[in-house]
Symmetry: D2
Subunit: 326 residues, 4 copies
């Protein structure tokens, strides 16, 4: 349930204010050079405190690789890793243990398990994504050796808007667009494992995501077939490609060699810097005090998370493809 | 790769113009009454020839259940089923075997496998969805006994527009909205198995789908946190619910007891009733003749497919939830 | 639950006296020649009525391939198949529906599901293995193209002993030894997916199997390390091999290029041709009448089943191995 | 590949002389009391240096739980844990990096991955089992709350024999018998997921295991059906049970409520305290010097490992059983 992938699998663990976040990345091919310093720099990109309106929680997020990489190369064995939680202030959260914050996972978690770690949202915290970024960062390095690169950009509000929203004690959402360059044709399994279905599941599993589309996406629904036809053409190097890319690089669930293009919609951060009315476990009305130390807009920090999830899916499908012919 | 689900699993098979489509639905709880006549009526809803602009291919689509149901009750064993392909006219497709139809799976399939069944798109045909509807129809009956119902509606063009588009030899896409009523709180696994991630993967695996969203979806990205806050309230019966449902019935990846609301975007049918330029396997330009017997808009026929996929995911998560506590 | 394998997966269905047995074999590489006549002959090897003491049930067991193979070649899509049950005589079994036959699955199935198909043991019947043989027969053909062959031999009683046991209305068990020739070194995953762990699970899943060992097996437990040491040596062709094969071709869970050797122990057939005392559902003592149409010893007919299961595991691991390096 | 289980899943990592061994145990039901001191005592049972002939490697094996347990109770989230490797002496192993020790995984690993961590066998070391014992110890505590207990005993040589074998610089194998008491009827999935197939796979995945049997096991193969018939009887409390237990508590792959009895055969330790002839990577003959710090017989230390694997399988099947009926 906390595992994603088929050949390349990632299993993660960790509560926001427990000792550590961590994971096991299994199925990474053997003999690949991994640059742990570059990995740390990639993980640093999701750290708080780097943009306007970002949480001031001061995690260092040092990646500690415990297995699977030796003398700078992958061994083909599972890569276990942890990231310690160093800046947990659990006392902040004590009074919330009996209340259900709106648009958070407090209520659903309580109903599902009958117990929850209320400190910082426990495992439902977006801090969980640090393990995704570690694993995805490794996958990106492997893909890089294959000439495949991944780049996401945030389509969020500008600094002035963020400042204004922050002044109102409010929050914002946004969209991240992610492009995979250099992926070969043939990635993706045709029916339930379509490449875009796998990408959708991976992206929708990121906290706060409410929508996914690829290629022309929802706009496709209002177009005519003749308007979105990606005509094939023979290129100068003799290869076959498409003149346009309405399909977002995926046809019939399988990559066609063009850029793979997708967009992911994030809801606004649910924690406001205002008083918020809600109920406690008994249904009695209570008022939550304004909260601090939270992001006004999580989208910029989510960019490496989106890239990481894309990398995990693409590398997994790259490995699966090896088994399609004898 | 042709399997979906965790406890409730569906494995399907079949090429469009082979002897039969079919599947194995495993993990259905034992002792549940199944009405096979009602199942046949549900499957009939996706048959062609029922709406303006739909394919005139005359499949009867008789469901033949081969196992797992005895004396009207599920046995707890896998439910094997087939639907014969009775109206295959393979000669229609022979000349296409060497060409790549734009926005179809011909090219990607050829690159991936080095071989493909060109008759009617082979396994890449939307005919594959008949097996989803059989399995999903069974899941819906099981859910019905739990008081959970699923209803999807097409948001597609009206008959006049369809007629005009058909006259142009063109095609249309559309959106299907699907609502799950009566699902209890607590369905969905928190991290990679979030309920909406599972729903997204299931919906995105339907042929022609390009986008998925739940609750306020992509609109969430442009809203402020205060605008989409689903405030909790105590209801007259003592239960806790939300005053609004921007979250679409899912919070933190887990159902909260409200209606689960999602939307699925379909691209326009890629087969036009016009001449279409493309290339053959060697990259040489060729012109495809206008095609007949295809849907102008697939969205109305896809409604039961969407319902079926939702049912499979919801029932699977209902079963998983049983294991959350001892 | 009715699925086995990781890349190459087999999902099967069918009750002994339902309309058909069948399965879906997914993950077979594309473009491989399959000889359906040879497949039928392989399946015929497990048919009853061919040896002394075998059941006289007269199934024809015609394999009907429904998908995944076209013009004699695999398509890379799932191979769906069925085998009709033509000789079911359900009236034979009616009186047994309320009784629990000793050493059968009647009691455990009833407790587990609260319902069971009593006709011929339903899905618990060894007739279930016909689907394994169809799928395994396909896998063997694929392995054959790689130079890998599988041969099992029964170590059961001679005809005279069988006749004597049959005259007593009794039954016998036996051992099947299976050898895989020509498998390359490097098959098997080191920890939970050790090659012999996968083989053990596959063999132990065959009805009536009570034990599995590979190489020197249980005898290893009484030996000294110096007695079972497979010394490495350089062969004339420059390759490295072992002088002996106490390890049964697997070291550290991974094949080493020697013959893979395993043994599977079958219990005696539980259905006697004598009166058998037991209880009914309420625990009341009842006496089962002598039964006919059953095997005295199932071991000879199980030989192709053992070969089939070995083939499925070896081919699956052959495909997995492709993903170990980039 | 380094994951075992279906609902209750264990993913482990770690090389013998890397920073730590560890794992993620997911799917443990929420709200169960876990006694971490008792868990540490269970893990201590597999530590070296406690019996005659055991390795003198002085690991402390302190279990560090990083998530999933809070205030003494399971949260329903994955339980991440590590055990640091504190006594690694990597210099011992440097000269071996180019040689293949007989009956070890050196050769097969090298062929499979093209790279290996030669320090102490890397991930192929039996040190890997410490993570199994941590996870299995947690599973045993959960089972204990259900009244299910697991007890294994070593059937190995006595101290005098061990001393004599040690004096010869030789090693021994042995057998472990494991019994599960108090398991309810109904555990196990009928076809490929038979309870004994799952137990076999789990036990065969333990390093050095060469055989598995349950109930009368291999002896069954030489018995008549009438000799191994477990007659049903009504007990004083009104329940139905069997008068004997040749079946080892499992019939048709499903537990019947009797004790579940199995035996696991271990080969002798492959590392001798003698000179051993072998080859290096180029096939040239070399002689390995006598090795120290290794067990003469691993069987006593493997007892908690066998119990742990049994616990993981039984608890997983207990959870799966919850989904068999609505």
């Amino acid at each position: 349930m906390n595992t994603i992938g088929k050949i390349l699998t990632l299993s993660t663990f960790g509560e926001s204010h427990g000792p550590a976040m961590g994971g096991v990345l299994d199925g990474v091919p053997a003999g690949v050079d991994i640059d742990l310093d570059a990995l740390q720099r990639f993980v640093d990109r999701r750290r708080p405190g780097q943009t306007v309106g970002a949480s001031s929680r001061g995690e260092q997020d040092r990646v500690e690789v415990l297995s699977g990489i030796w003398q700078g190369k992958t061994l083909g064995t599972p890569i276990g890793f942890i990231v310690r939680n160093t800046d947990a202030r659990s006392e902040d959260y004590e009074p919330l243990a009996r209340c259900f914050r709106p648009n958070h996972a407090d209520y659903t978690w309580q109903v599902k398990y009958g117990i929850r770690d209320p400190r910082g949202g426990g495992r439902a915290s977006a801090r969980e994504t640090v393990a995704r970024v570690v694993a995805g960062g490794i996958a990106m390095q492997v893909l890089g050796r294959l000439g495949i690169t991944i780049e996401a950009v945030a389509r969020a509000a500008d600094a002035a808007t963020l400042q204004r929203v922050m002044a109102d004690g409010d929050t914002l959402g946004g969209i991240i667009e992610c492009v995979v360059h250099g992926a070969p044709a043939g990635l993706g399994e045709p029916v339930y494992g379509k490449l875009h279905a796998r990408l959708a599941a991976a992206m929708m599993s990121i906290p706060s995501v409410h929508g996914f589309e690829y290629g022309d996406g929802f706009e496709m629904a209002a177009k005519r077939g003749s308007e979105v036809m990606d005509t094939f053409e023979k290129r100068d190097d003799g290869s076959i490609g498409t003149a346009t890319n309405h399909s977002g690089g995926i046809q019939g669930g399988i990559s066609n060699g063009e850029d793979i293009v997708m967009r992911v919609a994030f809801k606004p951060v649910p924690t406001l810097m205002r008083e918020v009315p809600t109920v406690d476990r008994d249904g009695n009305p209570v008022t939550l005090p304004p909260r601090g130390r939270h992001d006004v807009c999580v989208v910029p920090r989510a960019v490496p998370v989106v890239e990481a999830m894309a990398a995990l899916v693409i590398l997994d499908n790259y490995l699966i493809k090896k088994t399609n012919v004898l």
